[in-house]
Each structure stands twice: as C-alpha cells, then as structure tokens.
C-alpha cells in the first residue's frame, strides 16, 4: 500500500481509465477528471474522486486543485493523460478541430502542470508525467495538428523540467505507440500496419507498457530523471 496522491486526467475511458484502476489497486488515492462521468467502478472506489472538467477550462480545473490542497494537503503525482486526436489531411482539418486539439492536449497539459507545481512545491517534491506520441518523431502524415500538439508537449516537458527542478519536481513524458483504444479506432488498418512497421518492435502497445514507463518516472529513486521522453516500441 503506497497511499500516494495521484491526479490523472482523462480517466473516463482508454489509457486514463486503466491508469486510474492500476494506481487504485496499488493503494494510491486517485483524483481523476474528464468531460463526462465515467461508468467504471473498482473495489477501491472510496479512494477515487472524480471531477467533471474540461482540462482546457481554467475555471473548472482550479477547483480540482483546491480540493486536493484542502483534502490531502499535497500532490505526489500528476499524469497528464487526457488527449484527443484529429486524424485527417491538414487540408481537410477545420480550424475548430485544430483549436480543440491544441487546447486539450497542449494547453490542458500546460494548465495542469502549472497548477500542480503550485501544490507540489509546498513539499519540495512531485512527479509530473505528460503524454507524447510516436506520431511526432515518425512525422505521420494525416496527423499534423495532433503531432504538433504533442511536439509542444515535449517542449513543455523539457523546459518545465528545468523550471520546476528547484521545487523538487520532475517532469517527464511517455510516448506510446498505437494502443487499441477509441483514439485510433477510426484509423484504417492498412495505415496502422504501415505505422507498426516503422517501430523497432512491431506490435501494438498495451496498457502495461504505459504503466511500466509511468511507474519508472514515479519511483522515488527516479528523482534524478527529468526532462526525458521515453517512446515505446523503439521509435
């Protein structure tokens, strides 16, 4: 039983849901958020608190952090998992989709890092894990805005690692390969196979691959690891 206070964004489904269940099963206290309310339940439900919030909306995000400060007085880890994709040729991408992707992925991540740092600095320790993607280093056609929003997350990760080092906070990122969630449901199989072929290890990622990297960043012994991006699959 570890009893860490872990904040995870985008916990309604996909990787976020699995991360929440994983850390709850480890005995951590998990605070989650998403735009809609999750339907899942676990046996450690009493250790889970959900906020219905859009990560890109400062007004609904701030109360999450007040809650954490008031209820727990500290925050040990933030996992910035919430993210959306827009998989389309850039010529066919409306500005509205582009803004939503950048708002959720890049600005949402920025806002959570900023607010988390304010709480974490009080105890001179904390771990932040952001979500990158292999779409950025692989320069995937059809994912210009998505890959760009995540490239920005890499920059944020590297610079915030320096800005927050004095507060004892590490900031790192995990860059998953395709994992079978709703996020990639719309992508044609043939395109997926071409993508997998560009990985050193050619298989889909699974949730455990992500847990492993996040666990590594969260470990107490990882206090000298910051500003790093670990891509899965050998990309």
């Amino acid at each position: 039983m570890s009893n860490r206070i872990v904040l995870i964004t985008g916990t309604r489904k996909g990787i976020g849901e699995e991360l929440a269940k994983y850390y709850l099963a480890k005995g951590d206290i998990v605070i989650g958020c998403s735009r809609s309310v999750p339907e899942w339940k676990t046996s450690a439900q009493e250790n889970y608190k959900h906020f219905q919030a859009d990560v890109n909306d400062e007004k609904s995000v701030k109360p999450i952090f007040s809650y954490i400060r008031r209820t727990h007085g500290r925050l040990d880890a933030l996992i910035n998992n919430a993210g959306i994709a827009s998989m389309n040729h850039s010529i066919l991408t409306p500005m509205q989709s582009a803004e939503r992707v950048l708002g959720t992925n890049t600005l949402g991540t920025f806002l959570f890092c900023r607010e988390a740092a304010k709480v974490m600095k009080n105890h001179k320790s904390g771990r932040i894990v952001n979500f990158a993607t292999v779409a950025t280093p692989l320069k995937l056609e059809g994912e210009a805005i998505y890959a760009a929003s995540k490239a920005a997350i890499v920059s944020l990760t590297q610079i915030l690692a320096r800005e927050y080092a004095d507060f004892g906070i590490t900031v790192n990122a995990v860059g998953p390969t395709p994992i079978k969630t709703d996020l990639i449901r719309g992508v044609p199989l043939e395109k997926m196979e071409r993508l997998l072929a560009r990985q050193a290890i050619r298989r889909y990622g699974v949730y455990e691959d992500v847990f492993n990297v996040v666990d590594f960043f969260l470990r107490e012994q990882s206090d000298f690891i910051t500003g790093q991006v670990i891509y899965l699959g050998g990309v």
Binding site: E58, K59, K62, P63, S66, R69, R70, A117, K118, V119, K121, N122, D166, F167
Partner: protein, 96 residues
C-alpha cells in the same frame, strides 16, 4: 484590506525563513516585494506569489489567479510592494 494585508504578511513571514536575504517588512505597505529595490530571486518570487494565491483562495473560498494577463501588463506592477499587491487582490476579490 487589513485582512488581505495580514494574509500577505503572514505568508511573507513564513517565506522569509527560507530566504538568505529575507524580505524587509519594516516599511509596512511600502515594503518592496519585486522590482528594482528588491533582492528577491525570480524563483523565490514565483514561489511566494503562488503561496499568497493559495492563502487568499483558501481564506476566501474562491479560485483566483494572481498572475493573469492584466497583472503582467499593468504599467505599475501590482507585485511591486506589499500594499500594491493587497490592493490588487482586493480588486480581484470584488469582481464577480
């Protein structure tokens, strides 16, 4: 206003314990926080502003951001002295 001033000074007192050169509060409201006559390092400034923001938010049960675009663009920075910061917070609290 006095309550806000009290909150700010309390935070600074706590914060001073962590500083090599503490913030001098002898001048009351005119005590310099940040700017030309301040020896506060920027990392300490960031940290102090965040602590004061949390203290005010807890005391008034209201979410607020001290560092918004308006604060950063004001000609006379609200972060210059203890008094100007108190006035600025007072203004923010009066809104909505």
């Amino acid at each position: 206003m006095d309550k806000i001033l009290g909150l700010i000074t309390k935070e600074i007192h706590g914060f001073n314990k962590t500083l090599d050169t503490p913030i001098n509060l002898d001048k009351g409201k005119e005590s310099v926080l940040f700017g030309r006559d301040s020896n506060l390092q920027s990392i300490d400034f960031v940290s102090l502003i965040a602590s004061i923001e949390q203290a005010v938010s807890d005391e008034y049960g209201k979410e607020l951001s001290l560092v918004d675009a308006r604060a950063m663009s004001q000609k006379n920075s609200p972060f210059r002295t203890v008094g100007s910061l108190a006035e600025y917070i007072n203004e923010i609290l009066k809104e909505d």
